[in-house]
């Protein structure tokens, strides 16, 4: 259980455009254990999707550029693999669910075939066997297998997302990257999809990286949480550590921004200001100009990762400690 299947060390990804360099991921470290579901939480532009796409190696280069670091998947560096090796892993051992189910499916292929295609590519099976497996997958996500021959436009959004999940899990991946899989869905359908994901990851022993901005989804499905801000992890811990003892001012800000159902205060407490411009990140701590507790030191030195409790990491100077 404690075996690491993914280790990301000091990953740096930049996007180079004609007039600027966008610092999307800045020295990211993350490990994923077998069967673990880890939530990657952050706001738009924090670099969450870039991280997932880097693991899949589906970033378009250029404009994207890997500027350092390693991504070890089962001990092998993904960055050093040939494209041929990578194609074998992609969709088989590492699979991805994309945010928008409306655009992730091919509109002119039968949905069943789209699932069978992935199975046929990665396994030595006959067409008929792939079809049977695809039907099983459809049933598993709660879609009757008679709908194998229907096209994506005949499905609703929630159903399409389930097809995408069936497709991603068809080859029993070791690692599943789920990029905002429920963001485009209604809460009721979101609840259905999350239930499907929960039961399937149990059944298939899949590790999941759940990318989301919704702390409610994280609380529902994740074992551990990494809070991402401006391409860095600013806080990392177990679900209990992050939800009961949030420590980084950004994590606290996120929690305070949410309207809670039992809330009585007349106003919300937003984080002031905006995400920093990724072409021109601030010196020192990248959060310092929005941080209510910032000191002079924060504007000069970037804080290191400190372990405040076993396994609970925070990238912030200890309070009152300087």
């Amino acid at each position: 259980m404690d075996e690491n299947i993914l280790e990301i060390n000091d990953l740096v990804v930049e996007y180079h455009t004609d007039d600027a360099v966008i610092h999307a991921v800045n020295g990211l470290n993350l490990t994923v254990k077998r069967k673990e579901t880890i939530g990657l939480v952050g706001e738009t532009g924090a670099g969450k999707t870039t991280i997932a796409r880097a693991i899949m190696r589906i970033l378009q280069t250029p404009p994207a550029k890997f500027c350092g670091g390693t991504i070890l998947f089962e001990g092998q560096d993904i960055m050093k693999m040939t494209e041929q090796q990578m194609r074998k892993i992609r969709g088989d051992k590492i699979a991805m669910i994309f945010q928008d189910p409306m655009t992730a499916l091919n509109p002119i292929e039968k949905v069943g075939y789209q699932i069978a295609e992935a199975i046929g590519l990665h396994n030595k099976v006959s067409r008929a066997e792939a079809e049977i497996k695809a039907c099983d997958m459809l049933e598993m996500v709660g879609i009757r297998s008679e709908r194998y021959s229907e096209f994506p436009h005949q499905f609703s959004g929630g159903m399409k997302q389930r097809v995408v999940i069936a497709m991603a899990l068809a080859c029993n991946p070791i690692l599943l990257l789920a990029d905002e899989p429920t963001t485009a869905l209604d809460v009721t359908i979101q609840a259905q999809v999350l239930e499907v994901m929960k039961s399937l990851k149990e059944k298939l022993d899949t590790s999941v990286i759940m990318i989301t901005h919704d702390l409610g989804v994280v609380a529902d499905i994740c074992d551990s949480v990494a809070v991402v801000y401006a391409g860095e992890i600013v806080e990392y811990g177990t679900l209990e550590q992050i939800f009961d003892y949030p420590t980084h001012p950004y994590t606290l800000g996120l929690f305070n921004s949410l309207p809670k159902l039992d809330m009585t205060e007349p106003r919300l407490k937003p984080i002031k200001g905006l995400m920093p411009d990724p072409t021109n990140l601030p010196q020192g701590c990248k959060f310092h100009d929005r941080c209510p507790d910032a000191t002079e030191q924060c504007a000069i030195d970037p804080p290191g990762m400190a372990e405040i409790a076993p396994g609970h990491l925070v990238k912030c100077f200890p309070k009152g400690g300087e």
Partner: protein, 314 residues
């Protein structure tokens, strides 16, 4: 007398397959200083309701009264007068602004159409409005593409405020925004309501936001109002099975007191030529034979309306 009164409002769209019942017999009232939250899944007709009330689309049947005046079938002149008092903030701050108009031009446009102020007065007014919604002066000549979602939505708010309306329909104004920015915009809207006595009709699918901002909440399902109650009452004592399922599906950002989820089977059925009975019946876990009869809106406790014949039995 209520500022806004809507009686038996209907909006049907003609469709190849038949009549699409987008808004089907909805009545409510709204007072100054108050917020009515409208919630439901995508496709339940909540956006159409907002637009029909504002007369952005024609009414099929029913009446809308504003300040006691029937504005259901306004003449061009009446419509112009009406628009001074009723405005809308749209969902998508990216699509609702003209990309070729600068910030100040966008906010000034309603003032120009109104034609009451001189050019200098209008410029002063725009400055004032930008200040009110927290847009710095330096953005005056910026274009929407240069600004982030939060600032764009502030332009949308400023534009809606320009004519000093009494009533604003807010159609998912924060759902395209990140939580930290969402909180900034919600606070701004609450401040404005307090200062100006605005009435909001707040259309959203985000139930935590609606609980926080609304006095009353209306739950819609396939064009119909299935339940309406004061905000706290609705959350403490939801009576319609659909409301119960909807509330239980809210993802709660806490790991304690997790509630049992009611997972609804299936999805919205088609709003085209609906059958007369309860429209939620096929997904309802309490469905019974009597549900095929038309459902009547009842008021089991003061101000709490529910349209379910079995609500007192479950």
């Amino acid at each position: 007398m209520a500022m806004l009164e809507v009686r038996n409002l209907k909006k049907y769209f003609k469709n190849k397959a038949g009549m699409l019942h987008a808004v089907d017999d909805i009545s409510f009232t709204l007072d100054e200083h108050k917020t009515l939250g409208v919630v439901g899944e995508s496709g339940c007709g909540k956006t159409t309701l907002g637009r029909t009330v504002l007369h952005l689309i024609d009414i099929t049947d029913g009446q809308v009264f504003f300040d006691g005046k029937d504005v259901s079938n306004p003449s061009k002149k009446e419509l112009d007068d009406m628009r001074l008092n009723m405005q809308i903030i749209f969902q998508d701050p990216y699509a609702s602004l003209n990309p070729r108009m600068s910030v100040s031009e966008t906010i000034m446009e309603p003032l120009k159409i109104e034609g009451r102020l001189s050019k200098a007065e209008m410029r002063a007014e725009v400055k004032q409005l930008m200040d009110t919604v927290g847009l710095a002066d330096r953005f005056e000549n910026s274009y929407p593409h240069e600004l982030d979602g939060g600032r764009r939505q502030r332009i949308g708010v400023a534009r809606a405020l320009a004519l000093k309306p009494k009533f604003i329909v807010c159609d998912e104004p924060v759902s395209a925004l990140d939580v930290s920015i969402q909180a900034q915009i919600i606070n701004l809207m609450l401040d404005l309501q307090e200062e100006r006595g605005l009435a909001y009709m707040f259309v959203t699918h985000d139930l935590s936001v609606v609980k926080y901002i609304s006095d009353d909440i209306m739950v819609m399902y396939l064009g119909q109002m299935v339940e309406k109650a004061p905000s706290d009452e609705l959350f403490q004592n939801p009576m319609h099975p659909y409301t119960q399922a909807l509330l239980s599906a809210i993802p709660i950002p806490s790991i304690h007191n997790r509630r049992e989820r009611i997972i609804m089977q299936g999805e919205l059925t088609s709003p085209i030529n609906p059958k007369p009975g309860c429209r939620f019946m096929d997904r309802c876990r309490h469905a019974a034979p009597e549900c095929v009869e038309a459902q009547v809106l009842e008021e089991p406790s003061p101000s709490h309306f529910v349209a379910c014949c079995r609500s007192n039995k479950i």
